[in-house]
Structures are given as structure tokens and as C-alpha cells.
Symmetry: C2
Subunit: 315 residues, 2 copies
């Protein structure tokens, strides 16, 4: 008999969805608050939930063998002070569509000038200013995993040229040119002709402040930066300065080094900056529960689990 | 020797593009104003330009054999009082991509609540309200020609269900269910589960006020109507009433019965209505000139011209 702890803000939804799958040999306990289950934590060999909550109870779970995260980002569990003697799997393959809708909502909003047209309408002004088009524009993707691959496919659908920066993989056929390793020598080759730069990088020691002052200077002033990935990938002060000085046409940010964004943060008064409050790709229990259910069946069958996280790489 | 009259606001661009093609046996005259060339109108056997301008000079062109319109919509030339003893071809196959960018810019803006998020940001408020998604939603297309087919393909890319209303054709494989003929008996079957209704219908006697009070009542109140087609397809007063009474979630209108939209038009004060001032798919000379050039070569070769308009059907 396996003993599963579901620890999530959506504990009730996940409990219902896991129950509905009628998984064998499984006893399920669920809670939205770690304190509620802390006295019984030692009994659970499996966990499923939000990394930020699981982190709080991890030291009290000596029997833990496997944890399924409900998020793609698992940074809370990567703290070197924490145990790593269990299998950690994260949520993948479910965010690509939502991320694509998010990114292209704002790319198209930029091309179609929808905020400007709305302002004209508020003044009851017929505004026949011609819009732009994505066709023929160039997008640079920082990170081309399953999400980046989906973004590349949508970019191709709209007739764009796609550049991709990855650690090593070249899995997406929708990327026209790949870049790897330190971008130092190739920064101009990657960045100097981009209309859009999109980061879907995980937060790791290698990606920390990758988009820094030097990177931003390599972009053309017409470029728009979109970040639905992780806030730590960006030097926020350098980005604010680039926008303030008009060296960048715009930025659309879903994630930040501190969330919620502090009330006194410079971004609240930075021009041409859009703040979307970490809603680009939410984890809906209906999408995420099947990942746990599939992996649990694999566990019972003695098969390798899907989407295992490498603690060293951080993704 | 053929004698071509280019009559367009972009006369200079078209003249340059046609010259660059070095077409044989062709003498080109161009003007932006019909009055300028009226005295010489009798000499031209070919015309290329905006229907609204060509209409003014048509009676003075007895030698006219073929007219290539720079627009998709040719209503000015369909006036029954005007001659129809020449071949009329319109612009097709070039607007699909732009129309798709227009329609999906606003569909995604609606799902992602980008205007609401912008308002929150203006108040320096972290707004984590969850967005919607196009995945699983249903779109109804009024008209599935080359433009509708492109919209259907983009809808499928985003995981939508597609219903298509056409006169007879079922050319797009991206349409899940087709409707034909008078919608009277099938209006509920077509409209009652739509999240989005998009009209790319030409303006003809059969499409006049097709989207009337009854049609609007058949839509669910969550639906958004998008019209980048022709204004005459819509009963504007009925649409304003539906929005005013909250029977429709929104409308995005690019075209109107009178353009520019008069200053006292009810639409300027109708809630949940977006006005985009006839910019959804502009005719760029770089896209349109190749249509004339290709058709001219067909004319010389004695082949049928592409995109010939049927004066009776109106498209």
C-alpha cells in the first residue's frame, strides 16, 4: 500500500481527480496547509503538490520516495540544504498551449496596436493607422523544451523566423537556427535582428540574469521582450533602464524576482512595460492530475517516471 | 499593345511594381485622382486600382476589357447602373494571414483579459485573476473562402472547434461542421454554442443584415462577435442593443455601414465594443501587384484570369 500526501491550494480538486482514477494500492490524504498534516508526515512515501508547500514538510517525510510537482518550476525543492534522496518529477507538456496563447496574445497586441486603437476609440477618433504583421518578423526563444517547441510552432504558423537558444537539444524542427553554450561570442548573431525575445528558461545557476545589460544592448530598439519563464533570468534594473531610455520597444513580464511585485518596484512606473502577475500558464488540476496518475501507474509497473527533474541541472 | 490605367491612392507604388515586372506589350499610365486621367479614359483597355476610384471613371472607358481590383470587396463596381461588359477580378489569397492576425489578436486579448490586466496595472495592483483559453472553445465562421479557410486553420492550431457557414463550398478541411443555405431552421444548431462568431462575408443582397436581432438572440451571452468583413452584413442597431443589454459579451468591428463611422453613431458609446477603423487587412501594394502581374501574363497567354468576380453573386 502506497501512502500519498496531496499538498496543494487545490487539494480538494486533486483529491477528487485522483480518487476518480481508482488507482490500486493507494491511500490518499490531502491538505492545503502543511501544518495540518505535519504530525503524520512520516507515513507518506509519495507526495503530489506545489513545491512551495512541499518544501515546508519535506524534512519531516523520511519515507518519501517520489514527489510529483504540480508546477513546471521546482526551485523551492532545489535548495541545496534540502534532501535529494527521492525522485522528483515536474509538470511538463501541459503548459505549451497556454504559453503560446499568452505570448502570441501580446505579440499580436503589439503588431495590431490594440492599446493605441483603444485609446483612439476612447477619444471617438477613427484611427486608420496601419498595423504591423508577424509575417517575416524574427523571434528568439531562450529555451526550447516542450514549451519553446510549441511557441516555435505557433511562430511558424504566423510566418515568423525562429531562433532558439538551448543547452544542447535541437528537438524542434520549427527552429530555423540553434545557438548553444555561452552566448558571449554569439550574442550579436543571436540578438541583433530579433523583433521579439521570449524567455521560457528555468531558473538555474546557469540562467541567472542571462538577460543582462549587455544582452539588452545587443537587441535592436524595435524589439519587445516577453518573459513568461522565470524572473531570475533577467537583470530587472537593466531592463527598466533599457525601457526608460527607449533602447527597447517594450517588455511583457509575467514573472519577477519577487512576487507579488513589491509596491515600490520600479516596474510599476517603467514605460512600455506590461505586468501580467504570474498568470501566463496556470496549473489547472484537470491538466495536472493526469500527470500524477500516469506516473503512479508507471511506478506500479516498475517503469521509469516521466518528467524526472535532475537536481543538478535544476530542470 | 495594351494600355493600362492604374488608379489608386498608391498609384506611384503600383506603377513602380508593375514596371519592375517588365511586362511585354504594356503601356502604363497611373494616377491617384480620376479627374486627372478622365480626358484620356477612352484609350485604356485595362484598369487596376481601387473600386471606389474606378467606379467614377468606368462610364468613360468604352475600350475596357479587364479590371483588376486592389481590394477583396468590389461593391462600388456592382452597382446595377454600371456596365458589366468587362472581366472583373478582385484581390484574394493575400488577406488570409493578416485577417488571421487581426481576429486572433482580439480573441486572445479577450481570453487573456489584456485590457483588464492593463487597468489593474495602471492602479499598481497585482492581478492574478486566471485567464481563459481558446482550447476547446467553438468558433463560427460566416464565409469560408480563402480567408475563412486561413482563420479555420489558425483556430485549429489553437485547439478550437470550427463551424462554417458557406453558400455551397466545403473546401477547408479545418471546418468541423458546415452549414449552407438559409440559416432559418438551423440557426440554433449553428449559433447556440458559439464562443466566437466571425463574419468574413462579402456584401451581397443575400448577406445583407444576415446578423440581425434574431441571429444575435441565438448566440449565447458569452459570445463575442468579430466583423472584419463587411458592415452591411450586420444590423447595427440590433447589435448595439444586444451589447447594451448584456446579451452578448463583446463585439470587435472593423467595418461599418458608413465609414468613417459618423461622430454621432451609437457604437461610439456602446459597451464592450471595439472599433478598429477598417485596418484589419489593408491592401499593401507589394502583396497586390503580383496579382495583376500574374493575371496580365494569363491574359497574354489566353488563359482564364484568376479570382474573377461573378457580377450576379457579387464576389
Amino acid at each position: 500500500m502506497h501512502r500519498l500526501l496531496i499538498l496543494s491550494r487545490h487539494a480538494r480538486d486533486y483529491h477528487r481527480l485522483v480518487d476518480a482514477a481508482r488507482l490500486p494500492d493507494l491511500e490518499v490524504t490531502s491538505a492545503a496547509d502543511p501544518a495540518e498534516v505535519a504530525p503524520r508526515a512520516a507515513q507518506f512515501d509519495l507526495a503530489f503538490g506545489e513545491p512551495s508547500l512541499l518544501k515546508q514538510i519535506l524534512p519531516a517525510m523520511p519515507a518519501l520516495r517520489w514527489t510529483q510537482a504540480t508546477w513546471a518550476g521546482v526551485e523551492p525543492l532545489l535548495d541545496p540544504a534540502l534532501r535529494r534522496d527521492y525522485i522528483l518529477t515536474n509538470a511538463r507538456g501541459v503548459f505549451g498551449g497556454l504559453m503560446s496563447e499568452y505570448v502570441f496574445a501580446y505579440l499580436l497586441a503589439h503588431e495590431r496596436r490594440i492599446f493605441e486603437k483603444r485609446a483612439s476609440q476612447a477619444e471617438r477618433r477613427w484611427d486608420a493607422a496601419p498595423p504591423g504583421t508577424l509575417r517575416g518578423k524574427t523571434i528568439g526563444l531562450l529555451g526550447v523544451g516542450t514549451i519553446g517547441g510549441t511557441l516555435a510552432r505557433t511562430a511558424k504558423h504566423f510566418g515568423m523566423t525562429v531562433k532558439g537558444y538551448t543547452r544542447a537539444s535541437e528537438d524542434s524542427r520549427d527552429v530555423d537556427r540553434y545557438f548553444h553554450g555561452a552566448l558571449d561570442g554569439e550574442l550579436d548573431a543571436f540578438a541583433s535582428d530579433l523583433d521579439y525575445l521570449v524567455s521560457i528558461m528555468p531558473a538555474t545557476k546557469d540562467t541567472r540574469q542571462l538577460v543582462d545589460a549587455r544582452f539588452l544592448r545587443a537587441l535592436p530598439s524595435r524589439a519587445v521582450f516577453v518573459n513568461p519563464g522565470r524572473g531570475g533570468v533577467v537583470d530587472e534594473a537593466a531592463l527598466a533602464a533599457a525601457l526608460e531610455e527607449g533602447r527597447l520597444a517594450g517588455a511583457v513580464l509575467d514573472v519577477f524576482q519577487q512576487e507579488p511585485l513589491p509596491a515600490d518596484h520600479v516596474f510599476w512606473r517603467t514605460p512600455n512595460l506590461v505586468i501580467t502577475s504570474h498568470t501566463a500558464a496556470l496549473s489547472f488540476p484537470e491538466d495536472i492530475a493526469p500527470l500524477f496518475i500516469d506516473n503512479y501507474r508507471r511506478l506500479l509497473a516498475g517503469e521509469p517516471l516521466k518528467y524526472r527533474v535532475n537536481f543538478e541541472l535544476g530542470y
